[in-house]
Amino acid sequence: MDAAEIHERLRGKFGNAVEPELKDGAWPAIAVDAPMVAEIGQYLRDEPGLGFDCLSNLSGVDRKAADRIEVWYHLFSYAHRHQVALIASTPRPDPVVPTVSHLWPIANWLERECFDLLGVQFTDHPDLRRLLMPEDWVGHPLRKDFVEPDEYHGISTRRESLLKL
C-alpha cells in the first residue's frame, strides 16, 4: 500500500487527529495528535492490509525554536513491505506521549532511551527508568539547553589542555 492510501485510511478512521498533510520522502511521515498515538499505532498494527508488525525506530527530536518535542515512530511492515513514519509533537516544557510498548515490545527500551535523553514521559510505560545514563544523573542530555555539569561524584568533567601555549 502506498503512503497516500495509508494516510487516507487514517484520516477516514481518526479524522482530525491525523494532520491533512503527508510529508513525502523515502519514508513518508504523517503528523498525528500525540495523545492518540497508541490508538493509531494499534490500528496500523492490527488492521488487515496495513499490518505494521515492526517498529523500526523511535526517536525524539528537540525542536527548541518551536518549543516542541517531536517523537518519530518509523513503522515497517514485513508482511506488506511498506513503511510510514508517525510524528507526535508534544509541548517542550511538559512532553507526554502514551506508550506503545504493549504493541511492539522493542518500544520498551526505545522509549526508555527517549525518556533518558530527552525527558519525554511515556504514560503507562511499565518501567520508565533511565537506560543509558546513570540513574542519579540530573537532566536530559539531548535537550538543546542541557548544560554539562562540572563534575559527577567528584570526577571532574573538565580537563586542562595538554598543550601549554
Binding site: K23, G25, A26, W27, A29, D53, C54, L55, S56, N57, S59, G60, V61, D62, R63, A65, W72, H74, Y78, R81, A85, W104, P105, I106, N108, W109, L110, L117, R130, L131, L132, M133, P134, P141, L142
Partner: protein, 386 residues
Amino acid sequence: MSGHAIDVGIERETPAGLETEEMTLNMGPQHPSTHGVLRFVVKADGEVMRRAIPDIGYLHRSIEKIAEKVGYHGFMPYTDRVDYVSAMQCNQGWAMACEALAGIVVPRRGEYCRVIACEFGRLASHLLSVGATGMDIGAVTPFTHAIREREYINDILEELCGARLTFNYMRIGGCAWDIPPGFVKRAIAYLDRFEPLIDEYNELISFNKIYIERLANVAVVPAEMAIAWNLVGPNLRGSGMRYDVRRDVPYSVYPEFEFDVPVGTGEKGTLGDSYDRYMVRMREMKESCRILRQALGGLPPGPVVAKVPRTFKPPAGEVYVRVEGSRGDMGWFAVSDGTAFPCRVHIRTGSFAAMAIIEELSKGLMIADLVAVIASLDIVAPEVDR
C-alpha cells in the same frame, strides 16, 4: 514439600525440610564472555535462570550528542566507534544519511569501493562472531583460526585506508581513497585462499557434536517474535525470515550483484535456535565472497568521490536510511535544520534489539547458556550504548 514447581516450567524434587529461594547473581560489567562492558543481573533458581536483566550504558559515549557538535563531515570518524567490530557499514550509514539529506549522487566507482570495503568488513566481523561463539562455550582453538583470517582481512583493509579497526574510509559523496595499485589482484588471491577455509572451519567446529548440543534448541526465537522485537540481520534470518536490506531495500550498487540470502533451517534443532543464527553467519560469509568477486572483477573507472562543499549545509529535513550492517539492518535517523550542524542524529543498531530481547529469552535457560545466547545474537556492546 515435594514436587515444587517453579514458574519456569521445570518440575523438580526438593528434599523435605530444605528451603529454596531465588538467587540474585551479578554478571559483568567486566566478564570475559560479554564482548564489551555490559552487565546482567541474573535471577536464578539453582542453575536455571528465571530471567537475566541486562543493564547497559557502560559504554555510552554520547556519540549522538557529539554529532550535534562536530558537524556533518566531522562526525565520520565517530561513526567508526559505533560498532568498532565492523566500522565500514557505520561509515556508509552516515554517508548515506547525509547524501539523502542533500541529494548527492555517489560516483559508481565510489559505490564499488564502498561495497568492497563493507563486504570485507562483514567477513571480518562474522569471523570474530563465529570464533567468539566457539570460545564462549569452551572451544578455544577455533577462535585462533578465525582471528588469524581476520588479521589478513585487516591487512587488506589497511591497504585500502591505512587503518585496521576504525577506518574513517568513507566521505559524504564517496570514499576517501581510490583502490591502490595491485589491490584487486591481492584481494582475489586472498579470497581464493579464504573460501575453502570456510568449509574447513565448518568441519573443525560447526558439525562437532558437543558444539551442536550447546547451541541447538537453545533460545528459540520464532519469526513473529523476532519481528515484534525488531531483531534484524542474521538474528532475524536465523528465524527463517528471508529479509536483507541489501536485497529488499536496494541501496548502493548491490542490485548489480548476484547473491543469496541464507536463512535458518532448523537443521539441528528448532527453527530460530542459536545454531541457526550461527549457521546463517557461516553461510553469509560465502555470499560476501561472491559479492566481492563480482565487485572486484567489475570495477568501473572514474572518480571515487563526488564534489561536496567543505561547509556542508543540507536543506532542512529528516531522513531515515537503513544499511545492512554486520549485525543487520542499521537505521540512521538524521534531522537537519539547515545549519552546518545536524539537529539530531539517532542510530538504531542491530545489537540494541538483540540486547533487549535477552530478558525475554533467558527465562528458563541454564546460566551456562546465557553466554551462548549472547554470542549467538552477536551482541557488540558499544553498538548498544553508542
